[in-house]
Amino acid sequence: MEANQSHNAKTNHPTCLTIAGSDCSGAAGIQADLKVMTAHQVYGMSVLTALTCQNSHGITGIYPLHPSLIQRQIDACLSDIQCRVVKIGMLPDPKSIPVISQALTKYKITDVVMDSVIISSMGNVMCETPTIPATIQHLFPHLLVYASNVMEAFILVEKTLKKSPPPLKSFPDIQNLMSIIHRLGPKFVVLRGHHVAFDKNMMITEKPDSKSWTADLIYDGKEFYIFEKPYNTTKSIHGESCSLTAAIASNLACNIPPLQAIHEALYSIEWAIQRVHKKSSDPYKSAQLFTALGHSSKFSGSLISLKSENYIPQADLTSVLLSHIPS
């Protein structure tokens, strides 16, 4: 079926397409994305790139889909339903990348949010090595937002440069990492730092204590926006990463400007995580996370802007930031 843009029905209902793998346990992949979009009252569509058998203990099987099948799913959605926001997740092999890149161009998708999935939260490698340079070359120029965690971003840059970048030792090193990624194409780079603990001198420490802190960062090519918070030794919740990018995409679909969309998504994730009972088993932590997520109207808070060259950690900043999170 030949696409015909002029025939697409006009609608006020926000829509969003996710292109990602399937996580049967419902905590990641298109399943997580659809839950987040539904919670934001955004109509979600999903193109499967692979089927995975996974649960809170790990991944036992990956069933990749042929690029032509991915193509057919994308065409079925975008040739019929108007959509300008696409979230990209797991891409298991490099062959699917040109298909996706061409579709983004063909259907004039303006807001692309990507969450690279190289290593799962439990350490499993999720994609073939050639996938990363192909992603950088073909998809990054399309990106409005790239969102990930520090560890994942480091590996991305490492495999892209084909040599090890300087090891991350301090907060400025992470800022530099974000600059490198920004030059690869995304207009906004978002890194969640919950894996990394800083000491009072802004050095990364392997032995966090009660005074250690961490931060989520946004970089728009000019300024760094920093959300400082106490370092929490609790392991991350399965599905956090997917939820963040899906929430950003949902906010964009609701016509919220990019910086605010990212900001509100970060807050909604933080708000939801605060409400998860720590004693729950891993699957039910994910379940509570999705239940707590919702539209940005639930949350309130102001954006905090800090120039990178003048940044000095302040004790009261944490309390100011956390006070924006409803208790």
């Binding site: 079926m1 025939h7 697409n8 029905a9 609608t11 209902h13 829509t15 399937s22 049967c24 346990s25 419902g26 298109i30 399943q31 659809l34 839950k35 539904t38 919670a39 009252q41 109509y43 979600g44 569509m45 999903s46 193109v47 499967l48 089927l51 058998c53 996974q54 649960n55 809170s56 203990h57 036992t60 099987g61 069933y63 889909l65 099948l69 057919r72 799913q73 994308i74 065409d75 079925a76 959605c77 040739s79 019929d80 339903i81 108007q82 699957p283 039910y284 994910s286 379940a287 509570q288 999705f290 239940t291 919702g294």
Partner: protein
């Protein structure tokens, strides 16, 4: 413990059906959804243009990954595509001892065109149906399954024919069945409207169990058709079962949810409408100014109201053939119930903390006083003296008194207003339709009921309910529906008592 549910179905990339629709429905109910994908379909609002089957062994791996890790008692099955996958599902149900399986057959279109091979149908009936807590076919599928199980056929002309199909399926071995009458609008008399050229009124869902049938009619929405209603209904039933509700309540809630999603459906592509799966989220299930319509047409209310409208007493009242004695009994019972309402309002005034609230209760009492003066005068015209009416208090009136006092105590003014709605419905939908011409035996009563000035307090009641309906919670809505149900039960009891030869109320 968070409620969980797993769906086993195909993938619809456009999000309107399949596991995608199911996950949206689960999320709307705050149920944690898991999914095993049986096939990748490329489809949109216009149709399906490709299907890629997943090997049965991989379907099994997906199910195992979920159920070995997360406690789950409810499974919903959708499009299973072939016998190999169907066998894997059956084995998984047994292996993981799934307590409640909700089966959306997906074996035929609403027109009756078969979607599966005969061998699949054979296995489906033999192995999956016995394990299903509830089967949710459209009427065409129900007939196909019935023929396969019993070699019987039922022509559908009336609601009773649908019930007959359900009964036969139960008798043939199904535990429970919810029949969706897709594509068949019913008229107000429950005959197929296309056969009788009557305007469409109802979209029918019928829940059939071994204990009987539960009728769940919904308003026919002529301008609204959408993809995915079978996914929405079966997933919503599964969600409510996962939450822990019994099947009847689960089905009522699911029908209400599906109807709401259909009412709020929107146009995205060039083909069918898309259901609004998220419409149940946090929002009240009615728009401003629509609260009374919502409660009036709620699936738990409509059957009770219909049993009143179709009661022989009401039928005879409308036809003018109702004899005097039952009518006299009715008037007497109505008198006492109004007194109960006045007493309840007095109780509320007593416990009110503000003078304006006391004033409000006083107005109710005043309105009832004026109504009763007229009521007694009308009773005299039909051979009832005031002393006959007031001297005794029938047992049913005492029960109603307890009910109305409890309602006032727990729910205040709004509770009483809800409890008085059956009276309003009777005026609006029954009495106002009576053309009291010469020869009609109760002209004075009908004229009084129609008199605007005499029933102005009804308008006040409705306006007050509507005004305050936007500031209550979802659980409160559910509670108020319960009050209305009980109030309708009393209304029905009044009709039964009035019609009974054994009863004596004066």
């Amino acid at each position: 413990m968070i409620s969980t549910c797993i769906t086993v179905a195909g993938s619809d990339c456009s999000g309107g059906a399949g596991v995608q629709a199911d996950l949206k429905v689960f999320t709307a109910h705050s149920v944690y959804g898991m999914s095993a994908v049986t096939a990748i379909t490329s489809q949109n609002t216009i149709g399906v243009n490709g299907v890629h089957l997943i090997p049965a062994s991989y379907v099994e791996q997906q199910i195992s990954a979920c159920l070995l890790d997360v406690h789950c008692e409810v499974m919903k099955t959708g499009m299973l595509f072939n016998q190999q996958i169907l066998k894997v599902i059956v084995e998984s149900i047994d292996r993981f001892k799934i307590k409640k399986v909700v089966v959306d057959p997906l074996i035929a279109t609403r027109k009756g065109a078969l979607l599966v091979m005969p061998d699949y149908l054979e296995l489906f009936v033999k192995e999956l149906i016995p394990r299903a807590e509830v089967l949710i076919p459209n009427i065409a599928e129900a007939l196909i399954i019935l023929k396969h199980m019993t070699n019987e056929f039922v022509e559908i002309h009336h609601l009773e024919d649908v019930k007959a199909v359900g009964k036969k399926l139960i008798k043939a071995g199904c535990k429970n069945v919810v029949i969706r009458c897709d594509d068949i609008p019913f008229a107000s008399d429950f005959f197929c409207s296309r056969e009788t050229n009557m305007p469409p009124t109802w979209y029918l869902y019928v829940l059939c169990t071994s204990e009987g049938e539960v009728l769940l009619p919904q308003k026919w929405l002529a301008s609204k058709t959408a993809r995915g209603t079978s996914c929405a209904l079966s997933s919503a039933v599964a969600s409510n079962l996962a939450i822990g509700l019994d099947l009847v309540t689960a089905t009522q809630n699911a029908v209400s949810y599906t109807q709401r999603a259909l009412e709020m459906s929107f146009h995205l592509g060039r083909g069918a409408n898309s259901l609004d799966y998220a419409s149940a989220l946090t929002r009240l299930p009615y728009e401003k100014g629509e609260f009374i319509n919502f409660v009036r047409y709620h699936p738990s209310i409509t059957p009770k109201w219909l049993s009143i409208v179709n009661h022989p007493f009401v039928e005879q009242l409308k036809a003018g053939t109702l004899s005097r004695l039952p009518f006299q009994k009715y008037l007497v019972l109505k008198y006492h119930m109004l007194i109960n309402n006045a007493q309840a309002a007095g109780m509320m005034a007593f416990s009110s903390s503000s003078i304006s609230a006391i004033e409000h209760s006083a107005k109710i009492i005043q309105a009832i006083k004026e109504e009763n003066v007229t009521h007694l005068r009308i009773c005299e015209q039909y051979g009832l003296s005031a002393s006959q009416i007031t001297k005794s208090k029938p047992e049913i009136v005492k029960s109603h008194s307890l009910f109305i006092h409890d309602t006032a105590q727990q729910d205040g003014l709004r509770g009483i207003q809800i409890a008085m709605l059956p009276f309003v419905f009777m005026i609006q939908e029954v009495v106002s339709q009576i053309s009291a011409s010469d020869g009609y035996p109760y002209v004075a009563w009908v004229e009084h009921c129609k008199d605007k000035s005499a029933t102005s307090h009804i308008e006040t009641l409705l306006e007050s309910l509507e005004t305050n309906s936007q500031i209550i919670s979802l659980s409160k809505v559910q509670h108020l529906l319960g009050i209305l149900e009980k109030s309708l039960d009393f209304e029905r009891l009044v009709l039964d008592t009035s019609s009974s030869n054994e009863s004596s109320v004066f």
